[in-house]
C-alpha cells in the first residue's frame, strides 16, 4: 500500500484548518471572564490531549488487527500511532504545565486527577519503546507489543471515565457540565482546532508510514541490485521490520 498517496492534499487541508482555527481562537473567540487571555492555551492544549489519547486507542485497534491477522503492517501502524501520540503527549504535559503555572501559580499540581491520570497514561506508554527494544526476536517483539497496545489502549478510555466520575476536581470541564459548558462563540474555534489537530496527526502518521515503507522498499531494491552482502543486517531496534521480498 502506498501511504504517500493524497499526502499533499492532506497537508494543505491541515495547514488551512490549523491556521483558521488559530485565527478564530485569537480574533473571534471572546476573552474568558475568569482567566482572560491565558485561556487561549485551551485551544491548543485540549485538542492535543484528545488527539493524543485517541491515537493511543488507534494504536490498540491496530494491535488487535495484528494479533488477529499476524500481518506486520498492523504492527507498524500501531507502532507509528503510539510513537506520534507520545510526541503529542509530551506537548500536552508541557502546555498543561505552562497553563497551570499561569492559572494556579504552580507548574504541577499532584492532587489534580486529570493531570496525574494523563501523566500515568504517558508514563505507561513511555515504556512501550524500551519494551520493544528489550525483545530480540522480531515475531515475539511484534506480538508482545500488540498485546501491550491493546491492554494500554483499553486502559485509556477507562482512565478517562474514572477521572470524569471523580468528585473533587478543580480542572475546568468543557463538555456537558451543569453550568452548560463551553459558550457558543468558543465552540467553533475549539472544534476547528480539534479537527486541525486530528488532521495534523493523520498527516504526520501517513508521512511516517510512507517514510518507513520507502526505507524498506529501498532496502529491498538494494538487495536485488547489489546482492545480500550490500545490505547490512538489521541490528537490534524497537521499530518494526517489514518483509522486503
Amino acid at each position: 500500500m502506498l501511504y504517500g498517496t493524497r499526502l499533499r492534499a492532506l497537508s494543505i487541508a491541515t495547514l488551512v484548518t490549523m491556521t483558521a482555527a488559530l485565527a478564530l481562537a485569537f480574533f473571534y473567540a471572546p476573552m474568558d471572564a475568569d482567566q482572560g487571555f491565558m485561556q487561549k492555551i485551551f485551544y491548543i492544549h485540549v485538542p492535543l490531549g484528545i488527539v493524543a489519547l485517541c491515537g493511543f486507542v488507534w494504536g490498540g485497534i491496530n494491535g488487535i488487527q495484528h494479533l488477529r491477522t499476524r500481518d506486520p503492517k498492523y504492527d507498524l501502524r500501531s507502532y507509528v500511532a503510539i510513537h506520534l501520540s507520545l510526541v503529542l503527549g509530551a506537548g500536552v504535559l508541557i502546555t498543561g504545565s505552562i497553563w497551570a503555572k499561569a492559572s494556579w501559580g504552580h507548574w504541577w499540581v499532584w492532587d489534580e486527577p486529570t493531570l496525574v491520570s494523563f501523566l500515568i497514561v504517558f508514563l505507561l506508554y513511555a515504556t512501550y519503546q524500551p519494551m520493544r527494544f528489550s525483545i530480540e526476536d522480531r515475531e515475539k517483539q511484534a506480538r508482545y507489543a500488540s498485546v501491550f497496545a491493546v491492554t494500554a489502549g483499553a486502559f485509556v478510555p477507562l482512565n478517562f471515565i474514572a477521572v470524569r466520575l471523580a468528585q473533587a476536581y478543580t480542572h475546568p470541564r468543557v463538555f456537558a457540565t451543569a453550568d452548560g459548558g463551553l459558550p457558543a462563540k468558543m465552540q467553533l474555534p475549539f472544534y476547528l482546532s480539534l479537527l486541525g489537530m486530528a488532521l495534523l496527526y493523520v498527516t504526520l502518521w501517513r508521512y511516517e508510514m510512507a517514510s518507513k515503507n520507502t526505507s524498506w522498499q529501498l532496502r529491498a531494491l538494494r538487495r536485488k541490485l547489489a546482492g545480500d552482502d550490500a545490505v547490512p543486517p538489521v541490528g537490534r531496534t524497537a521499530a518494526p521490520t517489514l518483509p522486503t521480498s
Binding site: I44, L48, A102
Partner: protein, 77 residues
C-alpha cells in the same frame, strides 16, 4: 508613547500563552526536520541505486552458451 500604551493594555500573562504555542510549533517543527533529514537520506540512497543501475546497463551483456572471445584468449594464456 503609543507603543507603551499598547503594551500596558496587553494582559500580563501573554508570555505564558506565547510559550505554550511556541512549544507546540517547536514540536511540529522538530518532527518536520527529522522527516526532511530522512527524505534527504532516501534521495542519497536512490542516487546510489540509480548509479548502480547505470553501471550495469553500461556493461556488455553476458553471452550464454559459449564463452566470450576475451575469456577464450585468457584461457589460452
Amino acid at each position: 508613547m503609543i507603543l507603551a500604551q499598547t503594551t500596558n493594555a496587553l494582559p500580563d500573562n501573554t508570555g505564558y500563552v506565547a510559550a505554550a504555542y511556541l512549544v507546540f510549533f517547536a514540536l511540529v517543527l522538530i518532527y518536520v526536520v527529522i522527516m526532511a533529514s530522512k527524505l534527504a537520506r532516501f534521495e542519497r540512497e536512490l542516487t546510489e541505486l540509480n548509479q548502480l543501475v547505470d553501471e550495469r546497463a553500461a556493461r556488455p551483456p553476458a553471452v550464454t552458451g559459449s564463452a566470450p572471445a576475451g575469456a577464450e584468449e585468457a584461457a589460452r594464456r
